[in-house]
């Protein structure tokens, strides 16, 4: 079943929080993974892999560099479910 953008954001925030220790309410759509959340490329791949499992989507490695913000990732995952 497809998840709404709000559900994807909430799920993604849990994954980011688990990986980084940041509170879930700091994982907002306008936050940059690198500049705001201090997530490096290896942690990003962990988040991507866990998001793929959670939302049953495929996020190609080449696409990851385009996911600059949390909002970018939410949009990609939401669209990829369709």
């Amino acid at each position: 079943m497809a998840h709404s953008e709000q559900e994807v954001l909430a799920g993604l925030a849990e994954i980011v929080s688990e990986e980084t220790g940041l509170p879930t309410d700091s994982v907002l759509p306008d936050k940059s993974f690198t500049d705001d959340l201090d997530i490096d490329s290896l942690s990003m791949m962990t988040i991507v892999t866990l998001a793929e499992e959670k939302f049953s989507v495929r996020i190609p490695d080449d696409e990851v560099k385009n996911l600059a913000t949390v909002g970018d990732a939410v949009s990609f995952i939401t669209s990829a479910q369709a």
Binding site: D40, S41, L42, M44, M45, T46, V48, T49, D61, V64
Partner: protein, 334 residues
């Protein structure tokens, strides 16, 4: 005419690792010595890889020298001599001769001639590939004792300006002798490859490009995040298959000795495998670096030397790397 029925070889039911040997490059190279050309820092390398220093060999030591030291050590520790060795398998990607195989030269140097000898090109999975082959050779009756060596002088394969992999790499060799055993000492090998990802870890260009003047000395590159994702998440099921094939549960494993690629990969694999905290983990990468085919036997040697695990302990080992290729098995430590 009645055709005769051929005799086929048969061997002992069980095998084990009889002895282990190791050699590390004689130089200790700090992160600070490497950060200049890659505009990085000691802190960045430690945080990204867990590497504090790596061991590298000097100009006067080549990959076969490292292999020979480890091989002689392994034969001695097995209580054997070179004459007892029937086959020599050398896993390396840094012996820069297309032919002959380095294994034949090592066989001669350790007094094993006329042992069968060949090289394995399975990069960081090469040692576990070798253990799988040696186990099969002995149980099939094709060889009594097989010398398996993982040896690399990775510093011959680096570009100081490369930010993808060069700064991780170290030099060393690990060797074991596999022979007959009264009890099972090597579980089934679970192995495979995925050539669709051949570009994930690659040589910059071929020797033909060098010949044609289109390129300089080839060096190694990797797609770090891609390799992290593959190794960190897709290798855990392979390791679980190896445990299941050997008939052991995760809580029965005493040591986990993965290829020393990157401490972050090791940590991710432990998380995925849900290994109990009692399992001792090989973390030799911190001051030896990533020595490709040599890393698992070197990490094993360290755990045994430091008394972190005992001889006879059950260890889960898994190698993975360029190919992409992988292999895992549960072994009884010598």
């Amino acid at each position: 005419m009645t055709r005769p029925t051929l005799t086929q070889a048969t061997g002992p039911a069980h095998t084990r690792i009889l002895g282990l040997g190791a050699a590390r490059g004689e130089l200790t190279v700090t992160n600070d010595e490497l950060v200049g050309p890659i505009d990085s820092s000691d802190e960045w390398i430690r945080q990204r890889t867990g590497i504090v220093t790596r061991r590298r060999a000097g100009a006067g030591t080549d990959v076969l020298d490292l292999a020979e030291i480890a091989a002689n050590d392994a034969i001695k520790n097995a209580g054997l001599t070179g004459a007892d060795i029937d086959a020599v398998l050398l896993s390396t990607v840094t012996y820069f001769h297309q032919t002959p195989a380095g294994a034949a030269i090592i066989a001669d140097r350790v007094g094993a001639t006329p042992a069968a000898a060949w090289d394995i090109s399975a990069a960081c999975a090469g040692y576990c590939y070798g253990i799988g082959q040696a186990d099969a050779l002995v149980r099939a009756g094709t060889a009594r004792n097989v010398l398996v060596i993982g040896a690399e002088k990775m510093s011959d394969f680096v570009d100081p300006t490369d930010r993808s992999i060069s700064f991780l790499l170290g030099d060393g060799a690990g060797a074991v002798v596999v022979g007959a055993s009264d009890t099972p000492g090597i579980g089934p090998t679970v192995w495979g490859s995925d050539g669709s990802q051949a570009q994930a870890i690659r040589q910059t260009h071929s020797w033909l490009d060098v010949r044609d003047g289109d390129a300089g000395w080839p060096t190694l590159r990797q797609e770090g995040p891609t390799v992290f994702k593959w190794a960190g998440f897709q290798m855990a099921p392979v390791a679980q298959q190896a445990m299941a094939a050997a008939g052991v549960e995760p809580e029965q494993i005493e040591a986990f000795i993965p290829h020393q690629a990157n401490m972050r990969i090791i940590d991710q694999m432990i998380k995925q495998l849900k290994l109990p905290e009692s399992v001792v983990v090989g973390r030799d990468i911190a001051d030896t670096g990533n020595t490709s085919a040599a890393s698992i036997p070197l990490a094993t040697e360290r755990l045994l030397r430091e008394g972190q695990v005992d001889s006879g302990a059950l260890a889960l080992q898994i190698g993975f790397g360029a190919g992409l290729v992988y292999a895992a098995q549960v072994v009884v430590l010598p």
